[in-house]
């Protein structure tokens, strides 16, 4: 089943083509890492695919009515905004917004989804804490839990692991992998290529407004492509403990 389909997709901002000729399709059970240098258009691609920016071409998500799209894709923006000092549980419950009508209370199914999200992100002890008083990394975990509570088939996350400690970075990527085994998919933008190589089933390199490569990590992270897209050299090795990718130096 295709969860996201972009065909001949392009975005213009300020009279400039930020993205053009994008063709991308995400099926069930994938963890797709979106990688690329600063300004390559990773965030723009995800926001426009959701219909949050003006776009040209076809996006299966942007074509949906707003409420239906909210049930089909969860979006975790990079800006970690928590405007009011609400408690963690209240914040995570907001993930159920696309399912709850105006003035309605959450159903038991909604509460179970919230509990599952809290369990996945290991936030049981935080339920009653005030979200704005947590550290940046803890807030990131709470916001990931919020998007998990949405329980949409596709989760789109913009740099969800930035600012997390190594244990929680790995745990976050593992929870994405767990979602994939349940038949859901994740599109995640990452700057840590080592993390991307290890935990994603597929990598998409975005460079100069287009897709430079799309495939499994071993095929995508070739010296030539890495050099062209990022301007660095790197060491890539298949070990018994999995794929190891280590950036070496700027070329």
């Amino acid at each position: 089943m295709t969860l996201l389909c972009l065909k001949d997709f392009s975005v213009r901002r300020g009279g400039k083509d930020v993205l053009r000729g994008i063709n991308l399709s995400i099926d069930a059970g994938e963890v797709v890492g979106l990688i690329g240098p600063n300004g390559a258009g990773k965030t723009t691609l995800m926001r426009a695919a959701l219909g949050l920016l003006p776009w040209d071409g076809f996006s299966s998500l942007a074509a949906m009515p707003a409420r239906e799209r909210g049930r089909n894709a969860a979006w975790m923006p990079q800006a970690r905004e928590i405007a009011w000092p609400v408690c963690v549980e209240t914040l995570i419950r907001l993930g159920r917004t696309p399912y709850v009508g105006a003035g309605r209370k959450l159903t038991d199914a909604d509460h179970r989804a919230v509990d599952r999200a809290i369990g996945r992100m290991d936030l049981e002890d935080y339920r009653r804490r005030i979200a704005t008083q947590l550290s940046g990394g803890e807030q990131a975990r709470v916001l990931i839990a919020r998007s998990l509570a949405q329980e949409a088939p596709l989760l789109m996350a913009d740099e969800p692991t930035a600012g997390l400690d190594p244990a929680h970075q790995i745990a976050t990527m593992q929870s994405f992998a767990a979602l994939a085994t349940e038949g859901k998919s994740v599109l995640v933008s990452l700057h840590d290529l080592g993390m991307a190589a290890r935990h994603c089933t597929r990598l998409v390199i975005l460079s100069k407004g287009g897709i430079a490569a799309d495939g499994p990590a071993r095929e995508v992270l070739t010296p030539d492509l890495i050099k062209a897209a990022f301007g660095i050299s790197a060491h890539l090795e298949d070990t018994p403990k999995g794929l190891i990718f280590q950036p070496l130096e700027v070329l």
């Binding site: 926001r47 959701l50 949050l52 707003a66 409420r67 239906e68 799209r69 909210g70 049930r71 894709a73 969860a74 979006w75 975790m76 923006p77 800006a79 905004e81 928590i82 405007a83 009011w84 000092p85 609400v86 408690c87 209240t90 914040l91 907001l94 993930g95 917004t97 696309p98 709850v100 105006a102 003035g103 005030i130 704005t132 008083q133 916001l143 919020r146 949405q150």
Partner: protein, 327 residues
Amino acid sequence: MSRLALILWATVTALFTVSLLIGPAEATIGQSLWALFAGDGGPMTVVMREIRLPRAVLAVLIGGSLGLAGAAMQGYLRNPLADPGLIGVSGSAALGAVVSIQTGLAAAFFFALPIMALSGALMGVLLVLLLAGPRGSSLALILAGIAISAFAGALTSLVLNLSPNPYAASEIVFWMMGSLADRSMLHVWISLPLIVLGAGLLATLARGLDALTLGEDAAEAMGINLTRLRLSVILGTAAVVGASTAVAGAIGFVGLVIPHLLRGFVQARPGALLWASTLGGAGMILASDILVRVVIPERDLKLGVVTALVGAPLFLHLIYRTRKSGL
């Protein structure tokens, strides 16, 4: 019903009753209520039905409006310092009223003042919408509101400045302080439809304002229509604040202080703050209007002066508490 709702309803009901029982006409509680409900056609019935009842009803309507609009504005802008006056409605409504007093229209024709004030509010909100655009950011809305407020304020000063008649000038100044004295049921009927309409619009926003806690991007991705939300906030606030200013003048601090005061009691949820602030605002205006009549009844103390006198120290205390708890 939650404990907070119970306390707020009880407070508003109690203050409403007290408001009905206070006045220069000497009558016991029993006589007053008998005159209100049974209506023997005597002078006390006229006092209760034509003077005290509209005053108390207007206090509830206007206080509720200001509290609700304040909560909606703070929730939409995600800023605890936002105030319903921020979008320029109260300033432009005041300008309309001042022009009607200055030109003598208000003295010649009873409806002139509220109608001119409402037209002023309407012009103000149209200009703000034009300046800020239908889809623009919240920052554009704040800037447009400040510009319109400043312009309306400047024009109001100009009218005062050029006023050849000191009586008109002092009437303008007193009107701008805000008051519920000598209002009739007609004032209730003028403001009620707009307040009901605007409050109805603002009351639908709870879900959207809650979702906005996560930022505009996340809220929109969860299916919240931000364009409609923004339009509802602007039009709803314009209707309730415009109608309130038209019948009672400019009453400050309620829309700012009440949401801030009650936020802690609704666990900071912007949606729940809407109804809580409505009741809280009604309570604050009822209490202030009682104070106006009890403290120095012979001097016609203005309502807006009392709300600012009560509101400002309360606000300072809240700032101090906020700083201490690091929220």
